[in-house]
């Protein structure tokens, strides 16, 4: 368990050492990144079995919380800690001409992402989030799409993304400041302990709103997601897949952690519902108009993330479970779709008859799309079912609106996705069929892998359900978090401290009163 910190430290070191290494041995530098990723995967798999119903916390450097910095390792964080190196490995820029600093940025991304999911401290989360942001701005520039116009677009998209992201960071910082003013600590477990008393008020809610907007930039949350079509349009599909699939989910995870632990107010959830449902409907509406596949997928991604937010905004463990289901499903499907889209650039009309040219790829596309739409018995259906069923059982009217929005958006989604399917299976070849790019082997492998997993999950839906629900239960259990991070001794300390402070305060009052 102790060496789990290497998952953050090793890539971080590698990120800074790789450029230096490249001066002495180019090959060594290139291999280092991969090595680090493999080591990360090995470390995580080695602790995989040890975390089940009982989460584990780990104080870095031996300082006890709440003063020290802790890692919190439960099923959720461990799952994502594993997914991060795996996904980054899958979308690793293998190319020979890749500049070494790109690898370095990828390493930075790995380190910050792993830190983000494992960290049990709000400010650490902020720091890792910022690092993640820097890495992704850099990657957007570095992995601009090929072509004459590629570089300029990537630069401009990166700058616009950066400005939005920086504003978001500031919002998050202000939110953290408010929390600190209220509670006087930034340790999540400590905050969780104090939250019902200190954060269950207007100030706490506004802090949540600010953090939601701040982190929401990465999570493609409704009003701060204008960067999505620009960036995905400007960068390689590989990076788009990574960002839409993995990075957005990491930001969502952060929001969920904060929400579950710190903000018990129903208004916080409902704010998220509103933004989520606006995201669903606006994303799907624009995707309906899109004329090329990447743009369509970008907006579809906005819509899907909106769905994720709607799901997570349902109170209780069922909401968390629905959210995990739809988030993981999107994490699986969207990258695969981006991979398929990379060979199918150009206007949609030019894809006429593509299925005749490459029937296997078209069939894969249909399968993925159907799961995205929620056609039973594919996993996407179960995810959507969870959302719908749980939305309907909520009493607050905002959830009923959300239900309507989600269902309408699905119809729109069906309209454009099936239109693409029909274009692919068009009997006539389009005029531009000859200039179409070929799919690269690794893209097909990834998409096929996703399809295989989809089918496997569809067959094993019962056991998936048990896993997800146990994950949701653990994530949603605030007391469990507190008990895991603090030993009994710590807790006694904290209670003692609080009591002392409170008595001080009271004695002050009495003093004033006596005067």
């Amino acid at each position: 368990m102790d060496n789990l910190i290497l998952v953050v430290i090793l890539p971080l070191l590698a990120a800074f050492l790789m450029p230096a290494m490249a001066r002495t041995s180019e090959v060594l530098a290139r291999v280092t990144g991969l090595m680090v990723l493999f080591i990360s995967i090995i470390i995580i798999t080695s602790v995989w079995g040890s975390v089940d119903e009982q989460a584990v916390s780990y104080a870095i450097g031996g300082f006890r919380p709440p003063m020290g910095i802790v890692f919190y390792i439960d099923q959720l964080s461990l799952l994502f800690a594993l997914l991060i190196p795996v996904m980054i490995l899958l979308f690793w820029p293998w190319n020979k001409v890749t500049h070494i600093r790109e690898y370095s940025l990828m390493m930075l991304l790995t380190a910050s992402a792993s830190g983000l999911v494992l960290s049990g401290d709000l400010f650490n989360i902020y720091v890792f989030y910022e690092l993640l942001a820097v890495a992704s701005y850099g990657l957007v520039v570095a992995q601009g799409r090929a072509g004459k116009k590629g570089e300029g677009a990537a630069l401009a998209a990166s700058l616009r993304y950066l400005i939005l992201g920086a504003v978001g960071s500031v919002m998050m910082l202000i939110g953290i400041a408010i929390i600190y003013t209220q509670a006087g600590t930034l340790n999540l477990a400590h905050l969780a302990l104090l939250a019902p008393e200190k954060l269950n008020n207007m100030a706490g809610l506004s802090a949540f709103a600010l953090i939601l907007i701040g982190v929401g930039v990465k999570a493609e949350l409704f009003p701060v997601n204008t960067w999505v079509p620009e960036v995905y349009g400007a960068v390689s599909t590989r990076l788009s897949a990574l960002m839409a699939g993995l990075l957005s989910k990491l930001a969502v995870i952060v929001i969920i952690r904060v929400l579950v632990l710190l903000f018990p107010q129903p208004e916080a959830l409902q704010l998220m519902t509103i933004l989520g449902m606006l995201g669903v409907i606006s994303g799907e509406l624009v995707a309906w108009r899109s004329r090329d596949m990447i743009r369509m997928l970008s907006f579809s991604s906005i819509g899907q993330l909106g769905l994720v937010f709607v799901a997570f905004s349902i109170p209780g463990d069922m909401g968390l479970m629905a959210g995990f289901a739809v988030a993981l499903h999107h994490l699986l499907v969207k990258p695969a779709l981006f991979m398929l889209a990379s060979g199918w650039t150009g206007p949609l009309e030019s894809l006429k008859g593509a299925a005749k040219q490459s029937p296997y790829i078209a069939a894969l596309f249909v399968l993925l799309v159907m799961s995205l739409l929620g056609v039973p018995p594919l996993p996407g259906f179960w995810a959507k079912l969870l959302i719908v069923v749980n939305l309907a059982s909520q009493a607050a009217p905002v959830y009923q609106f959300a239900l309507a929005f989600v269902l309408i958006a699905t119809v729109i989604e069906a309209a454009y996705l099936y239109r693409v399917v029909m274009i692919l299976y068009h009997p006539n070849q389009g005029q531009q069929a000859s200039v179409r790019e070929k799919h690269k082997a690794f893209e097909l492998v990834i998409a096929s892998g996703a399809a295989v997993i989809l089918i496997a999950v569809a067959l094993q839906v019962q056991s998936m359900e048990t896993k997800l629900s146990s994950m949701a239960r653990q994530t949603g259990d605030r007391q469990h978090y507190i008990n895991t991070v603090f030993s009994k001794l710590d807790l006694a300390d904290i209670y003692h401290q609080n009591k002392v402070q409170q008595t001080d305060f009271r004695s002050n009052n009495q003093l004033q009163g006596s005067k």
Binding site: P223, V398, A415, M422
Partner: protein, 630 residues
Amino acid sequence: MSVLDEVFILCALGALVLFVFHRIRGIEKLAVVFYAALLYLLIKMSGLGYGGEVIYSSFSLNILGETLQWRFDAVSWFFAIITVASGLFSAVFMSGKWGESYREKTSNAAYGTLQIALLLNVNSMLILLASGDLLSLFIGWELVSWASFMMMALNPDKQARQAAIKYIVYAMAGAMAFLAAMAYVYGITGSLQYAELAQASAALSNGQIILLSLLFFTGFAIKMGLIPFHLWQAVAYAETPAPGAVFLGAISARMGLYAIIVVLIQLIGLGHLQQIHIPFTFWNLQTVLAWVGALTTIIPTYIALKQNDARHLLAWHGVGQGGYMLLGLMTLNSLGSAGGLLHVFNYATYQAALFMTIGAVIYRTGTANFDKLGGLVTQMPLTFMVMVFSIIGLAGLPPMNGFVSKWMVYRSLLLDGEPLLFVAAVIGTLGTILSVYKLVHNTFLGQLRVEHQNVREAPLSLLIPMLVLAAIMFVTGMMPGLVLDWVASAQLAMGLVPVTYNLGGIVLASGGLDMIWITLILFYGLGVGAIIFYLLGGRAKRVHQYDNYAGGHFLTSRVRYHYSHNFYAGLMHLIGGWYRGSFKKLEQAIVSLVSLLSQLSENMYRSAQPAMMVIIVVVLSLWSISGGIN
């Protein structure tokens, strides 16, 4: 292992085999064997059609705290036997010459795909029919939609493809309405089992029932193409390849009716449908649904009257006939609901036969356009005969089976004293008569076109299924008791009072129906007519078709005069103005609205200042904090 398990195993096996070998010649024979085997298994379950016990599958699935189980009761069996029989007939139809020509026109793979599509349709429908709770019903529902979409998308024609897209959007909208209803059921009862809903529905408030019924009904109505969701179906069905049209036309849309039976009648319950009044009106739910059925008999039928393509005409009638079934069912008395159910069977027989005749005509002439046909009776007399039999059924005239079911619907409306519904049904029937005459006249009667002078009778492989269907139509018309056995069992399963019947028809105190007598009387009458015509007077001389009188001129044989375009000119002159396309405009309006919203959203994404958005969010959150949401 129950028989139902065997059915599912056979389905899976068939799908697998067909998928692997679909490019191979001879696969069509295998498909026929498959459907025959399926039919055999269904016959093994035929106890269900005679009041047998419900058959459960021996496997189930536990998810979301729900047990998904599959089972067959009398209603499912009734629909299933029609489904599988339709599949068998389509498969036989496409196994012979038709298949060969389709292969030549397209490819082995395309033909195999058609076979796969048909098989998937049959299988998905069986899964739907076997569903034992709302969740499995929904799963079956979506599978059916997708299989139908696959079938429709096979035609490379542009119009057909657009129809398929339209279909899938409609189907998705219907599925979402269904899903919403299901979610509400879950929200109320915390379960998706039929039994729970049936129990809980007794305690629901009127508003909840109305909302639930409306959502469910919308979902099911879209599949059935009921008003106001009728626009998608006809074009989509008409444009599928002939065997596909046979199958889809015969039974596919009836899945909506099945779902209505299961959910609205069995679960929400008769009492609710009859008692709950829609606020601010004097209608109850039953009346509303019955009127939807009645309007569906009228509007699509008169749209059919205007069609200029045989397939479209038939498909529009298919939509209209769905209205009769719903109308019959929604009388909720034993006679009317039996009529509605019986109509499902009867309609399947003649609609399948009709699409087959048109398929045969297209096979021989290459077109179903009325402007390019005519006079084929001399060339294809057997096909013509089948068509006449079928249109007699479609129009609901004795002695074919269509008459029996329509008679039952009318009779029950009479018993209930529903004059306006009755009139609506009659208007629909009369429109049907007009339009089926147009069908048979414009295709088979009138002058034969020059290019069709060498057309021969349809090949045997096409004729056999048609003739068998015609025989079924006649036999079950004369002896409706054969099918009424199944219908009565289904009614019992639905919780209705079963109809009293005998082999010849309906037994009722105040005037029943005895089809054996009626058929005999009719044939006696025709015999008398034949005696009067043939035995008396001189022998008639057969002359050439064009040897006819036209105001003192001979109609030359080079220029054809076939009165087919705008056939009912006079009537159209009168009622033409009523075809305003209001529903079409509504549909367009919705599409425009969506595209407007879409454009607005896009502009927002394009031009929105990120910081502006942040401010909006801050304002929004302040609003929500100050309790603006609730």
